[in-house]
């Protein structure tokens, strides 16, 4: 069963799509359920100015992609980097046991974004 938060983000995701000439791009895959999420982002002055994703996965992981995008849009990479594991977990609200893998997905999205930002020298 999906919480309202997950359901809303799954049913009407605001960030599905592509970013033209993205400064950052990464793809994560979850070996457990085979979910794949690709994120593209634009960065301006150390802040995520544009972001979009595409996903092949279960409802909760599609929602997770959207929640991630919403949460980083117009946010400084430095602030994103300072998020604690607890804060990240809390972003998804209440989850059923079978949905907990999305916490890993969300954590990985944070890590990948920051790693990619480092690689691209925008942080």
């Amino acid at each position: 069963m999906y919480s309202e938060l997950i359901a809303d983000h799954f049913m009407d995701p605001g960030f599905v799509g592509d970013v033209e000439n993205p400064a950052l791009e990464f793809e994560i895959g979850n070996s457990v359920c085979g979910d794949r999420i690709r994120v593209q982002a634009g960065v301006t002055d150390g802040t995520v100015s544009e972001i979009a994703y595409r996903a092949w996965g279960c409802a909760t992981s599609v929602a997770t992609g959207d929640i991630f995008c919403e949460s980083v849009k117009n946010t400084a990479l430095a602030d994103i980097a300072s998020r604690t594991p607890e804060q990240i977990e809390a972003m998804l609200g209440e989850l059923e046991p079978s949905q907990h893998h999305c916490v890993h997905i969300l954590t990985e999205m944070h890590q990948s974004l920051l790693a990619e930002a480092q690689t691209q020298g925008v942080i």
Binding site: V16, V32, A55, C58
Partner: protein, 393 residues
Amino acid sequence: MEMQELSGYFDYNATTPLSDTVVQAMIASLSQFSNASSSSKLAQGNKALLKEARQSVARLLNCSAAQVAFTSGGSEANNWAIKSCLLPCSQAPGHIITTAIEHPSVLDTVRYLERAFGFTVTRLQPQASGAIALAEVEAALQPDTQLISVMYANNETGVIQPVEGIVALAQARGIKVHVDGVQIVGKRQVDLPALGADFVSCSAHKFYGPKGVGCLYIREPDQLEPLIHGGGQEMGMRAGTENLTAIAGMAQAAQDCTSMVAQWDAHYSDCKAQLMGRLEQLPFSIRFNGETCVTQAVANTLNFSIDGVRAEALAAFLDRKCGIQVSIGSACSNNDASKQHSHVLSAMGLDEARIQGALRVSFGRYTQLADIETFVQQLEACTSKLLAMSEMA
């Protein structure tokens, strides 16, 4: 239960709504509170109800009332038949033949007997059609085979198993046969004495009766050890004060089913033909899982995968956006070890992506042809949306 609420319900194999007649029968029984085993005048209504209920169910199965023992459902009936047949052999455990596509209440019971008492087990794999090959059953027979337990129709694919042939093989060798009939009763006319199996399990909530009640057909009632020992209920075979309300509901459901099942079945065939025809017109790559022909699979069930789509997400969309319920071949799980892929589709050899894309659509007596059309339209819309979401440039 209003019809319109049910127009999006395509999960009749999971459970069915109570029919109005069943609801009435159950409500009527609520005030008949006396213990059916008592000899007081108050109790006589209950005794009569119980007797008639057993006859109603017997008529549905074309057997005698003495061969019908009520249980708390299909799971108990499956446990009962298998354990009562095999526990008496636990000091000299032999060999069990079953299949990889049984319901968990068969699979886990057999696994328990294997683990706790040392029975040996052959679990037959189905063919790509979803059916077990009779020749494989024959090849699996051993001199010490003590039981064959096989389902009549599979809950995920609807595919009918070669139970007649299995009974013939077994009878020639004096081996007992248990048939899980939960997914056939209410969908096809059955004649259990003609089938000849020793035990057949049924469950009321698969044919518009209540949950928590079912029965075991017992070919030779005198020979069966109870699963629930105690008082003299169910002709001494199953203890427990009778669940009159549920039994009243099951009896009414059985009556309705006896007179209507042929008509329902014809309607399911129409629905299935329409559904398959419309699915084939959709601009997606759709693959049917298992045999779909109504001679080889119950007509109310269709299992298929859409390439490139995760059924979990599609089902969530259909449920949340369109009020449509279906079942899926793979649920999310928290770790690799407990991947929740359908054991049935896995056994049929489907690859992981196809299992993750598998939807089971099962319809019932309240499904209208127009509902099928609506379903296909919504399926198309939701699938398109999901495909667009995942289309990586």
